[in-house]
Amino acid sequence: MSVNIDIGLVFAIPLAEGMFGFGQLIAWQRPIFYMAAYDMTAKSLGPSEDDMRSARPVLLGNFFDILIRNGRWLAIQRFQIPKVPFPCFKVRIGDKFYVESWDKQQKREATSEECATLQFRTDNSAIVLENALKAHFALGPWEPNWFDNLKAEAVAKSSNMFLSN
């Protein structure tokens, strides 16, 4: 059975021999999916709807879907999308910096503090999510430069930043 690569799709990420982690496609903005990876592992590929509902998103970010398309990550089925925070980014236009919402629908001038804190709009290769999830479960090294901004708490913080001014 083929599964459309579309919003809501849950996929299994191989973490170790006989151990899978799980991710989900949350939103899409060409050419990138906003994905969540969950604090949940299993020995089999089929999490139930209840499993997904109780799972906590621990990593969030923009990733390409190539590893679903090439079969490394196994597409399972579509589930309801959880409510998750979306990051804000700093964008430079002309000689000014702005805070911009993930969907690019909101933008305002950034403070110097926000410029120092926020990251530029970033799209990651797919393997970054896999390695970050392995690191989350202590199956690989945590690389702060690559993974810190993907932590759900960090995303929530930047998400709130847009509302703070």
Binding site: L67, G94, W146
Partner: protein, 181 residues
């Protein structure tokens, strides 16, 4: 490892006014991203080449010069009608490359990289958006960031770029203000 380009952000002195002009209309689609110079160059060579046939083979130099001039004109036209992006590509080894693309072309460029290297660790960051109607040249913006990032490895800098985007004279003439690293 400190990110050289991001760390150099303070030294990028940009010009131009804020504008959020999405370019629409048929004219905006006449030129694909980064093809303006190529088209102009090609046209110039063809036109100049026709002249060369009539007046002798030595005119190939004239054709090339003509091609270069037309290429620059097309590049300027392209800059003026497209929203552009200056991006930073970073790989797992800390290698950094500063590039430019039109807003339309940028997603394709990223996907090409991901398709070619499915399990490679890399990320793309948008350093600056250059509105097509801002009066700021995409080449100057890219040069700003290359200089801010410490310059190409071939010139002793940390970036994977093979060269600076502009020579210093053209950069200054176009309003560039960031000094060589």
């Amino acid at each position: 490892m400190r990110n050289a380009v991001i760390g150099g952000v303070a030294s990028v002195a940009g010009g131009g006014k804020f504008a959020n002009g999405a370019i629409t209309g048929a004219f905006g689609y006449m030129f694909n991203a980064a093809t303006g110079r190529f088209i102009g160059h090609g046209l110039g060579l063809i036109i100049g080449g026709v002249g060369g046939i009539e007046t002798g083979p030595a005119d190939i130099l004239v054709a090339m010069a003509f091609g270069h001039a037309l290429g620059e004109i097309f590049s300027r036209i392209e800059d003026s009608i497209y929203d552009g992006i200056i991006y930073l590509r970073t790989d797992s080894a800390g290698g950094e490359y500063v590039g430019q693309a039109s807003v339309d072309r940028y997603p394709d460029r990223q996907m090409e990289e991901q398709r070619a290297n499915p399990t490679k660790t890399f990320k793309f960051e948008v350093l600056e958006t250059v509105p097509g109607n801002s009066g700021r040249s995409l080449d100057v913006a890219e040069e700003d960031w290359i200089r801010a990032g410490g310059g190409p490895q071939t010139d002793g800098g940390p970036l994977q770029n093979r060269r600076y985007q502009m020579n210093d004279a053209d950069y200054r003439k176009a309003g560039g203000t960031v000094n060589y690293p």
